[in-house]
């Protein structure tokens, strides 16, 4: 049975690494649902968050192969219950609607979305939340003609500690 798993990777910041990691999925014909990269809590350590829909044995093997890569410090996989996760969406809408259609203001309020910017031609709404929340707002705004819509990959932190500093410290201790 397939489940949604979030794979978190701590790595060096190396140009080729994204390619190397995506090749692991490609080789197994596994689709990446979403991918986000950013710095991590540790200076010079990079973080990937990858969401996949696979079986547990599959995700285990993916993580083993990812961790095997020389530039990867550590990789984990978690179920939704084991993480706190959010996605961010941006919605670009024609400005006149904001004033002419009261409903829009209600949608924004009800969904706790923020207006990021308002210009004479368009305004941009930002909503961070679960998929169904950003999706609901998209459906509500769609009738008014969304000029643009974009949603980020999943951002996720685990409930349990990751312990990366410990790994890095033990390396420094052993190599002094």
């Amino acid at each position: 049975m397939t489940t949604t798993y979030t794979i978190s990777i701590y790595s060096e910041n190396n140009v080729g690494l994204l390619n190397r990691i995506s090749a692991i999925f490609l080789k197994r014909h596994i689709n990446i649902e979403s991918l986000a990269t950013s710095p991590s809590e540790i200076t010079d350590v990079f973080r990937f968050v990858i969401v996949v829909n696979v079986t547990e044995p599959q995700v285990q093997k993916l993580v083993q192969q990812i961790e095997k890569q020389v530039d990867v410090i550590k990789a984990y996989y978690h179920t939704d219950e084991e993480t706190i996760f959010q996605e961010t969406a941006l919605y670009k809408v024609k400005t006149n609607f904001l004033f002419e259609e009261r409903q829009i203001q209600n949608f924004i309020k009800q969904s706790h979305a923020n207006i990021v910017t308002v210009s004479p031609e368009f305004f941009v709404i930002e909503k961070t939340g679960f998929r169904h929340e950003t999706e609901q707002l998209r459906e509500q705004l769609a009738p008014f003609g969304l000029l643009q819509f974009v949603r980020s990959g999943r951002l996720s932190v685990s409930k349990a500690p990751m312990g990366i500093s410990k790994i890095l410290n033990s390396f420094t201790e052993n190599n002094q």
């Binding site: 190396n14 080729g16 390619n19 093997k61 083993q64 095997k68 530039d71 990867v72 410090i73 190599n175």
Partner: protein
């Protein structure tokens, strides 16, 4: 020392103890070749006739010497020609460093002449790769490259160096790499895993050891033998594990896998504890996975955590270099008396002998068999040759019947099954073990995939013995066509050239044998030759390799005929 990037490349190689590299020049790597010219007394460069040959030669060198093989090529087509050898080294865990030239960094991405994204192309088949765009990066990156290639589970590394980085100047200082914070080559041995594994082994009634190349790569032959002898457990090998334990050892019970021996395959399905040492449960070994050793508990001694549970679930994983894990295990295993279990191997061997081995090695029919040729090589070389094989029927027959008294004596393309591997790999194998007899056993098909390396043999004079077993077929494929495609021999019959004339064109002494009576003396002459030698043996055209486990079948379905 203020030197160019190109000179730094050479000085790094020298600092890593490299004295021999294989390669092929071209525009984007010319600065390095220019330095090679200056350093030719210290660093010998072998010009192969194709970049694929350079990689296979580097692999052969690595396999017999235990050192890192080095191959070098230009950008674009030179670099892409390396890929087959790199993929082969990756799947067979061979330490190799490939250096490619690249267009100048200002031209990257412009589709410049002979620009190719070799980093992108090689990523899935390298252990690590890196593009150098500045001269000052060279020492650190090459130090890393060698460290990564040889440490832990070895593998190929590619370093791509732009032309401006080769021309650029740097203050050179070489510090060997001793560690990388994101990379843990050898997992620390966990004694509790050893204890658990030992308990499982000690209570076993019908244990079986299956060993792979990890024993050789870990320099653990002595520990392995001590483990086998102390425990008294029968041991069988994968094709890449071959030669780690001498053939004549009473507990060496033969080969597992698709064309392996009868007893090792069938008794895998009967053993109660299967002890896998430095092997990775390739599908050619396991057959149908869900039926593989389903009755057995599995102990897996392995250096690469990604291999644990990859194909076969390990009830008792022992992560570490098997030199360490075996040494720890020896302390805890108790000697066993396994007479009736061992007798099962003898019984099944007798059956295999009667149906297969006798006909293969002592044929009474007219045509020559591949098996009798290998037996003749054993005899002439006192079972002490390095046997390099290509891919196909001759490979399976050679691995089944070749005898060995020392490790690092079998060089073959296992995981990738690369036709064309043997001839260039034999060049490297001989250069990696110059005092040894090196015999390349090659099919008529695979020989023609890298036949141009005869030029390298001629130019270097390397004393490789080339033994082509000519069945005028792509024999292994023809066998499958016969067995599974109603004898529809689609594009497997070959009209071959006069191989003897070709060898002579390269001034390599050459001979062809078509009759049994001439075989022993011809083989002897080949073995005795001081320099390179070519021998073609015309073998029976439509012989098949047995036993055989059809693809996807379980080991129980092994066929003797």
């Amino acid at each position: 020392m203020h030197i160019s990037g190109a000179e730094a490349v050479i000085r790094c190689l020298l600092a890593e103890g490299v004295d021999l590299i294989y390669g092929y020049p071209g525009g984007a790597i010319m600065p390095v070749y220019d330095e090679l010219y200056k350093f030719q007394d210290d660093l010998h460069h072998v010009l192969t006739r194709h970049e694929q040959g350079a990689t296979h030669a580097a692999q052969g060198y690595a396999r017999t010497s235990g050192k890192v093989g080095v191959a070098i090529a230009t950008s674009g087509p030179g670099a892409t020609n390396l890929i087959t050898g790199i993929a082969d080294a990756q799947i067979d865990s061979t330490p190799m460093v490939c250096i490619t030239g690249q267009v100048g960094s200002h031209l990257l991405g412009s589709d410049a002449f002979q620009e190719t994204d070799i980093i992108g192309i090689s990523t899935p088949v390298t252990k690590w790769n890196y593009q150098v765009t500045q001269a000052k990066e060279i020492p650190e990156i090459l130090a890393r490259a060698f460290y990564i290639a040889r440490s832990g589970r070895p593998g190929p590394v590619l370093v791509d160096i732009t032309k401006d980085a080769q021309f650029g100047m740097l203050d050179f200082e070489y510090k060997p790499c001793v560690g990388i914070r994101s990379y843990k080559p050898v997992p620390a041995l966990d004694q509790s895993q050893v204890v658990a594994a030992a308990e499982a082994i000690n209570k076993a009634k019908k244990p079986l050891i299956v060993w792979g190349q990890g024993v050789i790569l870990g320099n653990a032959e002595a520990e392995f033998k001590a483990f086998v002898e102390k425990s008294g457990i029968p041991a069988v090998w994968t094709i890449l594990g071959l030669s780690a334990l001498e053939t004549s050892h009473p507990l060496n019970k033969g080969m597992v896998g698709m064309h392996g021996n009868y007893a090792p395959n069938l008794l895998t399905q009967e053993c109660d504890v299967l002890i896998a040492v430095g092997m990775r449960f390739d599908d050619r070994v396991t057959g149908r996975l869900d039926a593989y050793a389903a009755q057995a508990e599995v102990v897996h001694l392995e250096i690469d955590p990604a291999e644990i549970d990859k194909n076969v679930h390990a009830d008792y994983p022992v992560l570490s270099d098997c030199k360490q894990s075996l040494a720890a295990l020896i302390e805890l295993v108790v000697p066993k008396k396994l007479d009736s279990w061992l007798a099962r191997f003898d019984e099944l061997y007798a059956k295999e002998y009667e149906v297969v081995i006798e006909k293969d090695t002592k044929p009474t029919k007219e045509g020559l068999t591949m098996g009798e040729v290998i037996v003749a090589v054993n005899k002439a070389a006192d079972s002490d040759a390095v046997i390099v094989t290509d891919v196909g029927q001759h490979q399976m027959i050679a691995c089944r019947y070749a005898e060995f008294i020392r490790s690092k004596s079998n060089v073959t393309s296992g995981g990738l099954g690369t036709m064309g591997f043997a001839l260039p790999a034999a060049i490297g194998a001989k250069m990696g073990a110059p005092d040894r007899q090196v015999v390349a056993v090659i099919g008529d098909g695979g020989y023609q995939m890298t036949i141009q390396e005869l030029g390298t043999i001629f130019q270097t004079g390397v004393a490789v013995k080339i033994l082509v077993l000519n069945n005028e077929y792509l024999g292994m494929v023809r066998q499958w066509q016969q067995l599974f495609f109603d004898r529809r021999y689609a594009s497997t019959e070959m009209t071959n050239p006069d191989f003897v004339t070709i060898a002579k064109g390269y001034h390599i002494p050459a001979q062809k044998v078509t009759e049994r009576k001439d075989l022993p003396s011809a083989i002897q002459e080949m073995i005795n030759a001081e320099g390179p030698y070519f021998l073609e043996v015309a073998v029976e055209k439509e012989d098949n390799v047995f036993p055989m486990i059809p693809t996807g079948a379980s080991l129980n379905e092994i066929r003797l005929q």
